[in-house]
Structures are given as structure tokens and as C-alpha cells.
């Protein structure tokens, strides 16, 4: 695929466009003065998206407090809300405006994996530099056509570096009245730990029903008042910031107000977690904003990394182009036996060839060889060996050779802390070297959430864990190894800096089984928007209720990741009805087009993979008729293989075929926990 960059930065004098100083406050000059005049803002600025649809106003009010608001057209998305940080080493309540600058940032990059093969980015960026006693505080606000993003820079006036103590981040989001959220509430995994792995379901909430001390995770979606404008709040560029992961809660004294403040993760012990190195650039606080189509198709979480050359990490001693450094990263569908194994653990394993060979256990390479054969047959690229795989190194090496001889790469499971002496970089390097020598192509690395931490460090999203993520990403990159974090935090755009971080858990996933379909629907509008999602769907439902077979097929299509892990038994994929469908799935989504749905009902989208298009729909509770057209198709006629189910909870699917063109439309009935999928191939 052709790679191109058109990086245009238009630095424009701040005075040419903004600020809009509003120094005159005498709006009632002719009125009789019966009171003191209204206090006036000291300064104000405005930045708008390139198409002008999204605008952010920032003011420094009479008390010197920084406030911002955001509008989408005439709809207020964020009411007047606080900005800024408080640090022990300076008093940012007494800031002088040093300067402001506006620039246009535009360009594009190619995805290794993502929702689109090529991503264009275009925004206006306003940087307001404020001067304290010993530090500058930059407030950087960007407006894109699909949302806004802001961050802070803190740097010493004398140019020195050091460590500061962050007392609080004052970023607030005042959600308009009557807004409804879809959010994942922080809820520790067990009662005796504070660990959280972002594996709880999303739930619908009123925005004015959040209490102080109730923590909402990023991303959180809300519908603005009674409008059709939605905004998805999240953070990006956390990795490398030196900062901790953040959550949202009601500010002190503002329970049930609709105002949410960005605060330090509640997970972990928080030892010295407020000690942050400067010069410092905070993670971006992002609001992906627009109609539902805009939100779910957006890649703003990754777009804020700007142009591909500066976004991509390379080792200090590397001298080539950054894009060349990462050209080995190869996304592909992954076969995975662990989930199915849970149903048969300890029982004799009968191979596809019909021979009894050992028992169901991850050390049994007879199982993995069958999955390698499946992957090769289906055109997939990887197999994943889970916990217990490495009990016999010689056998493991032989297996790796077997897989590689068939063109299949191998992921292996490990524990982010236990496998590496609780976060010891030297142990990490030694083991990665050893595994690479065995033939390992990537790691599925688990338990970042801190439940296995020894001591007070490396718990959840504390600064040590955030740094540990980056160490792992870098060390794996140096060895050309892919990374699939599990038991981890949400995606924060790291794939733009480290394309080898090709997949990610942090989702209420298939391993939970019996998953209420309303949760998978909501996840499409929330967690699924912000980055790769290793949901691990099956073919057949593992439990007696929840997502049906057709729902699972749709999940395998809709969740995007660089190495989607498919978890069912090999024969399920070889079934004549579905084999062609699963063998056509690709890891990279060349295009994503939202067709219809709402977070409370269903989700339906068209995905382009290679030359083929797929339409997939997952339904929640309420049966309905889903109507859509094929306007996303290019010209010509396509052969559409349509997979549906005949009734609620069906354990089989029905396949029909018909021709469609871009002017065709269709209505399909969807049952509770169900959906449909369509595979479209262009006819010659």
C-alpha cells in the first residue's frame, strides 16, 4: 500500500485569528448602577475545527481561573468547565498570559491495523502559554471535525528538568443537562484488592447521577441532552507521558451535578504516584464528538499523535526511517485453543486425525498443531499458546518450527509481573531473548492490573506500570515481537507509537461466557471505538444463554484488532456453512462504515477487508427489523452471502446468496442476542 505524508503545519499568528479579547464588560452602560459591575474575563480565545462545526472557547475569568466549553454546531457539548493543573512547586492560580499561538496540523498515515487503511488528520491547534513563578503551563486545545482534544505542558521557565508533585488535575467536563452516559464504573476485581482490568460491562447512566468517589473509566460515551450529538471522552498518549492513568468522578462537593473531573486512578496503593517528571506533556483528554456515525468511525484516539514519522518510536541508535523500522509488523487472524480447552481441561485429547494424544492442556502440542493446521488452511497468520505452554522447552521449539514451516507465527502467554520478577527489565530482556530463540513471534502478556504485584509498585495504572508497558513495548519491538496486553488498561493510542502493540484486552470479553448481548452492543459504541479489542469470540455460544452463534460471527467481524483471537474448536471453523466466511476475515479493516443502531438497541456496520465487504449486526434485547442500504459499495455487482438465524438463541445459522449493488437495500429481522452477517464479494 502506498504510503504518503502530507504534513502541513500552518503556523498562524495568534493575533490573526484569535484571541478574541473581551476586555469591555460595560454591557449595561445606560442602566442605573445599583451594584458592582459584573466581573469580566481577563482573556478569551476560540479555536474551531477545519470545517467549523466544532468550536472550543477558553477564557481566563476575573479570578484567573481557566475555563473552556465546546460546541458542535449550536449544541453545547461541554458547558463551562475548569482547565489546569495544581502542582506543589508553583501556584497556577496566579498565571499571566505569556502568549497564544494557533496552527493547523494536517496529514495522513497508514494503519498496520485499525478501522481504516489510511487515516487523515486535520485540526486547528491553539496553544496558550501561561506563566507562573517558576513554570510555564501550556494549555493546548485542538479541534478536529470529529472532536476535540486538550492537554497540558508543564516546563520550567529556566529550562531545567526535574520532578514535580501533581496535587490535582483540574480538567472538568460539565455535561449538559439531561445527558445520558454509557460508562464503565470502576469496580475492583476482588474485594481484597483495588485492581481493575477494564473488564466490567458498560451501563447506561444519567450524567447527573454520579457521586463523589464513584469513578468512571475512560472511555465514557454520552448523548448531549436530548440532541443527537454524542461525545466519547477518553485519554490518549498516556504511554510515554510519565503520568498515571486517569478516571472521571464528580468533583468535591459536586455530586449529582453532571460535572466530571479527571482524577488519578483509584486502583493501586499510589505510592509516589503524584511525582511526575518535567518537562511534562500530559496525556490528551479527548472528546470524540458528532453523530453516532462520526463517533464510532473515528480514530481520534490515535490521530492526536500527529504525523507518522514523529509519532513512531525508534531506538536511539536507529538511523533509518521510522516507517521502515516497523515494516515487519504483520497483522493476522489468530487461532486460540485456551477458551475451548476450558470445557475439556484434563480430559483426553483426540486429534483432528482421530488419535488420542495426551490431555487437554496448553503444554500438549498435539492441540496446537491442529490449530496451526487450521490457521494455515483458513489463511490466518498466528496461533496463540496460553498459560502452561512452556513446560517443555524442547517440545516448544519443535512446535514453533512446525508452525513456521506452515507459515504460521506463534504468540505465547506470559504474566506481566510474575514472569519478569515483578517488573525487572533485565529479566524481561533475558526471557524475551530466550523466547525469540525458541521462535516466538509475539507475547500475550497478562495481569497488568496489579493483582499479582509484589509491593506497592506496578499496580493498575500507576506511573510505574505505565512505564513498564512502554519498556515491554520497546524491548519486544527490538526483537520484532508483537504484543497483546491482557488484564490491562484501556487503549490510549499506543498503537500509533508502537505498531507492535497490535491487540489489547481491557474488555468484558468472551471468556466471561453467558455475556448479555446488550453489553456487546454498548461496547461497540464505547470501548470498541478507541482501539484494538481482543474479545475472543467463539463460533458457537459457550453457555446456555447470551450471544447466539450469529451474534458471535458478527463479533468476530466487528471487533477490530491486529490479531483477532478466534477461540472455538477447529472443526467449528471447518463447518461448510461458515468456513468460507471465517477464512475471508482479515485483521486490518480497510474501511469502517457505521450503518445504523443505538447503544441501547443494536449495532450495524460495514467493514471492508481487502477487496471484500462485510456487513455485521449485533442485537441486544429487543427484536427488530434492521434496514440499511449498500451505498458504501463501489460500482458493480457483488455476490452477497447472507447469514441469519431463524429464531432467538439459534445454534445454527442459515446461509443464502443474492446479488446486490450500491443501490440495493435490505431489511433483516434480528432476534434477542442475535444479529446477522453478510459477506460481499465483487463479481467479475
Amino acid at each position: 500500500m502506498k504510503k504518503y505524508i502530507k504534513h502541513i503545519i500552518c503556523a498562524v499568528s495568534a493575533l490573526a485569528i484569535v484571541p478574541l479579547f473581551t476586555a469591555c464588560g460595560n454591557k449595561n452602560d445606560n442602566a442605573e448602577r445599583t451594584d458592582f459591575p459584573e466581573p469580566t474575563d481577563k482573556s478569551s480565545w476560540q479555536v474551531a475545527s477545519p470545517d467549523g462545526s466544532i468550536k472550543s472557547d477558553i477564557v481566563m475569568n476575573a479570578e484567573g481561573k481557566l475555563l473552556y466549553s465546546v460546541k458542535k454546531g449550536n449544541t453545547t457539548v461541554v458547558d463551562s468547565s475548569s482547565l489546569g493543573m495544581s502542582i506543589s512547586e508553583d501556584d497556577f492560580r496566579l498565571l499571566d498570559v505569556e502568549s497564544s499561538d494557533m496552527k493547523r496540523i494536517t496529514g495522513s498515515y497508514d494503519n498496520k491495523s485499525g478501522k481504516h487503511a489510511v487515516v487523515d488528520y486535520d485540526c486547528n491547534e491553539l496553544t496558550i502559554t501561561l506563566k507562573g513563578w517558576t513554570f510555564y503551563l501550556d494549555v493546548v486545545m485542538r479541534c478536529y471535525d470529529d472532536g476535540y482534544a486538550f492537554r497540558y505542558n508543564v516546563r520550567a521557565i529556566d529550562g531545567s528538568s526535574g520532578v514535580m508533585t501533581v496535587e490535582s488535575e483540574n480538567s472538568e467536563f460539565a455535561l449538559p443537562e439531561n445527558s445520558v452516559m454509557w460508562t464503565q464504573v470502576y469496580n475492583p476485581i476482588f474485594s481484597w484488592v483495588t485492581s481493575f482490568a477494564y473488564e466490567d460491562p458498560y451501563k447506561r447512566r444519567r450524567s447527573d447521577g454520579v457521586s463523589v468517589g464513584e469513578y468512571l473509566s475512560f472511555p465514557t460515551l454520552y448523548r448531549v441532552g436530548n440532541s443527537e450529538v454524542y461525545s466519547l471522552l477518553t485519554e490518549s498518549e498516556l504511554i510515554g507521558s510519565g503520568y498515571y492513568g486517569s478516571y472521571l468522578t464528580a468533583p468535591d462537593g459536586k455530586s449529582n451535578s453532571g460535572v466530571l473531573q479527571t482524577v488519578m486512578t483509584p486502583a493501586g496503593v499510589q505510592t509516589d504516584n503524584d511525582r511526575i517528571a518535567y518537562p511534562f506533556s500530559s496525556p490528551w483528554r479527548i472528546g470524540i464528538t458528532g453523530d453516532l456515525k462520526t463517533v464510532v468511525e473515528s480514530e481520534l484516539t490515535e490521530k492526536v499523535y500527529d504525523d507518522s514519522e514523529s509519532a513512531l518510536w525508534t531506538p536511539d541508535d536507529y538511523e533509518g526511517s521510522a516507517e521502515d523500522y516497523w515494516d515487519w509488523v504483520d497483522p493476522g487472524v489468530t487461532a486460540w485453543s485456551w477458551l475451548y480447552q476450558q470445557k475439556h481441561a484434563g480430559k483426553p485429547y483426540t486429534t483432528v486425525a482421530g488419535e488420542v494424544s495426551g490431555i487437554w492442556h496448553q503444554e500438549n502440542n498435539a492441540i496446537h498443531r491442529d490449530y496451526v493446521d487450521l490457521a494455515a488452511e483458513m489463511g490466518w497468520k498466528y496461533v496463540l499458546l496460553d498459560g502452561g505452554w512452556n513446560q517443555d522447552q524442547t517440545a516448544a521449539a519443535e512446535f514453533m518450527k512446525y508452525a513456521h514451516d506452515k507459515g504460521i507465527g506463534v504468540f505465547v502467554w506470559c504474566d506481566a509481573l510474575n514472569s519478569f520478577s515483578n517488573g525487572n527489565a533485565d529479566v524481561l530482556k533475558t526471557k524475551l531473548d530466550k523466547w525469540k530463540a525458541l521462535g516466538v513471534d509475539g507475547i500475550k502478556i497478562d495481569f497488568f492490573d496489579g493483582q499479582e504485584a509484589v509491593g506497592n509498585k506496578h499496580q493498575g495504572e500507576d506511573v510505574d506500570t505505565i512505564k513498564w508497558y512502554e519498556t515491554i513495548y520497546q524491548e519486544c519491538a527490538k526483537r520484532h515481537m508483537l504484543v497483546n496486553p491482557h488484564g490491562c488498561n484501556k487503549p490510549t493510542g499506543e498503537r500509533r507509537k508502537y505498531p507492535n502493540v497490535i491487540n489489547r484486552e481491557g474488555v468484558y470479553g468472551g471468556e466471561k461466557q453467558n455475556i448479555p448481548s446488550s453489553y456487546t452492543v454498548m461496547s461497540m459504541y464505547t470501548r470498541g471505538v478507541v482501539g484494538p479489542t481482543d474479545f475472543t469470540p467463539m463460533v458457537k455460544n459457550m453457555a446456555s444463554s447470551g450471544a447466539s452463534m450469529i451474534h458471535n460471527m458478527a463479533l468476530a467481524t466487528l471487533y477490530e484488532s491486529g490479531t483477532p483471537s478466534l477461540g472455538d474448536w477447529v472443526s467449528e471453523y471447518r463447518d461448510g456453512t461458515v468456513k468460507d466466511y471465517y477464512s475471508a476475515l482479515k485483521a486490518l479493516h480497510d474501511d469502517t462504515v457505521f450503518l445504523c443502531g443505538t447503544p441501547d438497541r443494536f449495532y450495524c456496520a460495514a467493514i471492508k477487508m481487502g477487496d471484500d465487504w462485510f456487513v455485521a449486526c449485533i442485537n441486544g434485547i429487543i427484536e427488530s427489523d434492521v434496514s440499511f442500504d449498500f451505498g458504501f459499495l463501489e460500482g458493480g455487482t457483488y455476490s452477497a452471502n447472507i447469514y441469519t438465524e431463524s429464531a432467538k438463541g439459534a445454534t445454527e445459522v442459515t446461509k443464502t446468496t443474492e446479488p446486490v449493488t450500491s443501490s440495493s437495500s435490505k431489511t433483516i429481522k434480528v432476534f434477542e442476542d442475535g444479529g446477522f452477517v453478510i459477506h460481499l464479494r465483487k463479481q467479475a
Partner: protein, 476 residues
């Protein structure tokens, strides 16, 4: 993330913390446990604001959000959440239930504090029925009466299992503090192939005789049960006590009276009935949960004692024809005298709904009534909950033909509980946690012995322990 590390929860610590916290709940009107017997409410500790808007007879709900705290936290949680999601879908933009799941220990230690401090307090509580007495005594929950009256939404206790609805008042005169949800206990499933032409036993003598016969014919241990698992000793031992006419405490003073003239024979008969199954080699002592399950799945056990929410997964795991697995009732199985009415009793636990005192808006109270009524009467919700192993306490559902025809209901739950009015829970007391905890210890002490020589001494000793702890709580 895969398997997650399990930890050790100090149950006793949680109990003491909860009891201490409740006893110390002075803030917000809390007053701790009050004396036994029925009480009048002289001054309401809850308030009501606003007016109900109606369209004809129907209450108009406008985007009301209800925070629901539930102790449902196991394999049944997904099904519970599905039920809530269904309600939310049907009541979109009118009522939205936001469930949060916590363990019973956390519930006891956290929720009362949240309500007392009005800090992130849930609006609606769904916990085991026995827990509500302490909450009412501490003035942390409010009755449904006013909301029912003003909304016109009926929650008639006559439509619920008698053995459960009788607790709704929590000994406050004319008050309805709780609405029963369901019932659950240890249940028995059996292998129809091994049973053959034999009839299911209907009393203890028949149980022993049948098991001896099957043991001889099939060369197996006919009963698979983890005799030292919590679910076994919590439910089966207490069932045996009830079937022999025993009670768990003296309702006039809340003290355990296990060694009284009325109870001592019942407690001894209860342990004797279980012990006999072990000494006659019809059931292994201290069989592990995994071994018991493996024996049943491998057609090596006629009966299997199991938690009802695990029945679905056992059926899924059974490699043979699932229709060969049936449900049986343990009614009369542990009664020395099967002719007594109490011989039919089955002891278990029950979930119930209650309203936090922090809810003031009458529209929200009415919305809570709407959800509770829906949960009690909606067939789809009832079926989902039945498949999670919870038989409805609502006669509106149990007498509904669609509900009754559902496989899990027809072939299992109605077999486990032939008459829902015979289902019993711990009676009303603020000390149910203490009784339960020491009954478990008493069982473990007695089952260790192969004969009854030390039973009386054990019963006396553990009665003293529980009463000493209750006295300690009352001194705090």
C-alpha cells in the same frame, strides 16, 4: 485476563465489622438492633418529596435512574444483568436500573455505611432476606407502603410464598419493608439410568434403603456430595434441623436455644440422619467438590447435592443424554418422623428487595415498585432467573403456565420445591449471621465424629459461643 487469584476472606471479621458498624450507626437516625417482638413506628425516619404524575391509572416515569446494589455475584450474575437489561430496554427513557454487584460480606460492611452517610448510597437493595432486619432496626431502609399506596402499583404479599412473605414486616407493625424475590437452597439431582425402575425416596428410611440397594447393585457410592462444602452444611444441615422440628433461636429474646428441651432432640436427629449416610457408606465424608461432580458426571453416583445455580452447568457438562438427569426433592429425607408437617420443610435462603431510606422522591419510590413488580411478574425475567437456579417467590409466576412449562422450572425447580409454602429461611432476627456462622461450626464439629457420643456437649458449647457473641455485639 484468565484465571484470577483467589484470596481469603475473613468471614468472621466481616461479620464483626458489620455488626459493629450497625450497632454504632448513630448518624442518620440509625439506632442498631432493637428488642425482639413486634414494634410500632412512632416517628418515620424516612422522608418523601414530590408528587406522582399519572396518565390515567398509570404512573408517568421520566428518565428515573435507580441504583441497585445486589449480592448476586456468582455464575448467576450474567443472567441477572440480562434481566435488568431487558427491563431497561422495555422502559427506555422512563426507568433505568443501574445494578452493582458486591459480595454479601461487602454488602454488610459497605452498604449500611453508604446509606447512613448518604454517600453514593444505592436506592434499591437486593440481598438475602435475613439481612434486612438489621437494616430496618438501624433505620436504614424504608417500607414500600407509601409508594404502593400513592402509585397504585400492587405488591400484594399474598401473591408470594408464605414462608417468605411473612418476614416482610421485619416485626414492624403494618409495614412492608421487603418484597421476596426467589428461593434457593442445596438441591438434589439424580441419574435416571441408575435409578432404573426404583421410585425416588419420599422419606429417610426409603432413602437409606434405596441407596443401599443401588450401592450393592452398581458397586458405587450412591450419594455424591461435598459434605464439608459451605453450601452443604449451610443448607442441608439446617434443613435436617427444621425437618426434625428444630428452630434456630428463641424469637422472644433472639438467643440461640439449641440445647433447649425442644431443640436438643431435633439437632441430634438432624446430625444423626446425615451421619448415617456416611457411616453406612452411602456418602463419602469430606468428598471434594470436584470428586463429587466427577462421580456424578461419570454415572458413578445416583444422587448429587448441588447448588441450584450450578444445575445448568452440570447439565451442560454431562456427556450423556441430559434427559437422564432429573430433579428430586429432599423433603422428609432427614426427618426422624416423616408424618410431621415440618418434615416437608426445606431450608434455604431468599433474595428480597428493600428501599434505602435515602430515597426521598416519590416518583423514584414508585419506579422502584414498578421494577420490583416487573421482576416478580415478567415471564421472561422469571425464566431467565430460573435458569440461573432461582425459583420465583411470586405465585403470579409459579402459577403462570408458560413459566411452569419452562424446562428448568418443570423438570428441576418444581421437583426441588414441590410446595413453595414449605420453603423456610432463618426467622426474623438481627443476628442471623451469628446463628448461621456457629451452626456451620457446630455441624463441622459433630460430623467429624462417627457417633453421637459428643453431640450434646457440642450443641451446648456452640450455643454458648453464639450467645456470647450476640452479648458482645449488644455491649458495643
Amino acid at each position: 485476563m484468565k484465571a484470577k487469584r483467589k484470596g481469603i476472606i475473613s468471614v468472621l471479621c466481616a461479620a464483626i465489622v458489620a455488626a459493629t458498624m450497625l450497632a454504632a450507626c448513630g448518624g442518620g437516625g440509625g439506632s442498631g438492633p432493637i428488642g425482639a417482638g413486634e414494634h410500632n413506628i412512632d416517628k418515620e425516619w424516612w422522608t418523601t418529596t414530590g408528587e406522582i404524575v399519572k396518565d390515567g391509572d398509570d404512573v408517568v416515569f421520566n428518565n428515573i435512574e435507580i441504583k441497585l446494589a445486589t449480592v448476586v455475584a456468582g455464575t448467576d450474575l450474567a443472567k441477572f444483568n440480562t434481566i435488568v437489561n431487558r427491563f431497561n430496554a422495555e422502559y427506555l427513557d422512563r426507568i433505568n436500573i443501574v445494578p452493582s454487584s458486591i459480595t454479601e460480606e461487602e454488602f454488610n460492611s459497605q452498604v449500611a455505611k453508604q446509606i447512613s452517610n448518604n454517600a453514593n448510597a444505592p436506592d434499591l437493595l437486593m440481598t438475602h432476606q435475613k439481612e434486612f432486619k438489621s437494616l430496618a432496626d438501624s433505620k436504614l431502609i424504608q417500607p414500600f407502603n407509601e409508594a404502593i399506596e400513592k402509585s397504585g402499583i400492587e405488591l400484594d404479599l399474598d401473591n408470594y410464598a408464605a414462608g417468605l412473605s411473612k418476614y416482610s414486616s421485619l416485626n414492624f407493625k403494618d409495614q412492608q419493608f421487603t418484597v421476596p424475590v426467589d428461593m434457593h437452597s442445596e438441591v438434589v439431582i439424580y441419574n435416571k439410568k441408575l435409578l432404573g425402575d426404583n421410585a425416588l425416596p419420599t422419606n429417610h428410611a426409603e432413602l437409606v434403603a434405596l441407596c443401599k440397594k443401588i450401592a450393592l447393585e452398581k458397586n458405587i457410592t450412591p450419594i455424591a456430595a461435598s459434605t464439608h462444602s459451605a453450601s452443604f452444611y449451610r443448607f442441608v444441615f439446617n434443613t435436617a434441623i427444621l425437618q426434625n422440628g428444630g428452630t434456630f433461636f428463641d424469637a422472644s429474646n433472639y438467643k440461640a436455644d439449641w440445647a433447649s428441651a425442644a431443640n436438643m432432640p431435633a439437632y441430634k436427629a438432624a446430625i444423626a440422619s446425615i451421619r448415617e449416610l456416611i457411616t453406612e457408606n452411602l456418602m463419602k465424608k469430606q468428598q471434594s467438590t470436584g470428586d463429587a461432580l466427577a462421580a456424578f458426571l461419570g454415572d458413578k453416583a445416583l444422587f448429587y447435592f448441588v447448588e441450584p445455580w450450578s444445575v445448568d452447568s452440570v447439565l451442560n457438562a454431562y456427556s450423556g443424554d441430559k434427559n437422564d438427569i432429573g430433579g428430586a426433592s429432599m423433603s422428609k429425607w432427614f426427618a426422624a418422623d416423616p408424618t410431621k408437617d415440618c418434615a416437608d420443610y426445606i431450608y434455604g435462603d431468599a433474595h428480597a428487595f428493600g428501599i434505602s431510606k435515602t430515597v426521598t422522591d416519590i416518583s423514584k419510590k414508585a419506579a422502584i415498585c414498578e421494577f420490583v413488580k416487573w421482576f416478580s411478574e415478567n415471564t421472561s425475567a422469571g425464566v431467565s432467573w430460573a435458569n440461573a437456579g432461582h425459583y420465583s417467590a411470586s405465585k403470579t409466576l409459579t402459577e403462570n403456565t408458560s413459566y411452569a412449562a419452562e424446562n428448568m422450572v418443570a423438570n428441576y425447580l418444581t421437583k426441588f420445591y414441590p410446595d413453595i409454602d414449605d420453603f423456610q429461611t432463618m426467622d426474623i432476627s438481627p443476628y442471623t449471621y451469628q446463628y448461621k456462622s456457629y451452626l456451620e461450626q457446630l455441624y463441622l464439629a459433630m460430623i467429624t465424629n462417627n457417633n453421637a457420643s459428643n453431640d450434646e456437649a457440642d450443641i451446648i458449647a456452640y450455643q454458648k459461643k453464639v450467645n456470647d457473641e450476640i452479648a458482645t455485639i449488644n455491649m458495643m
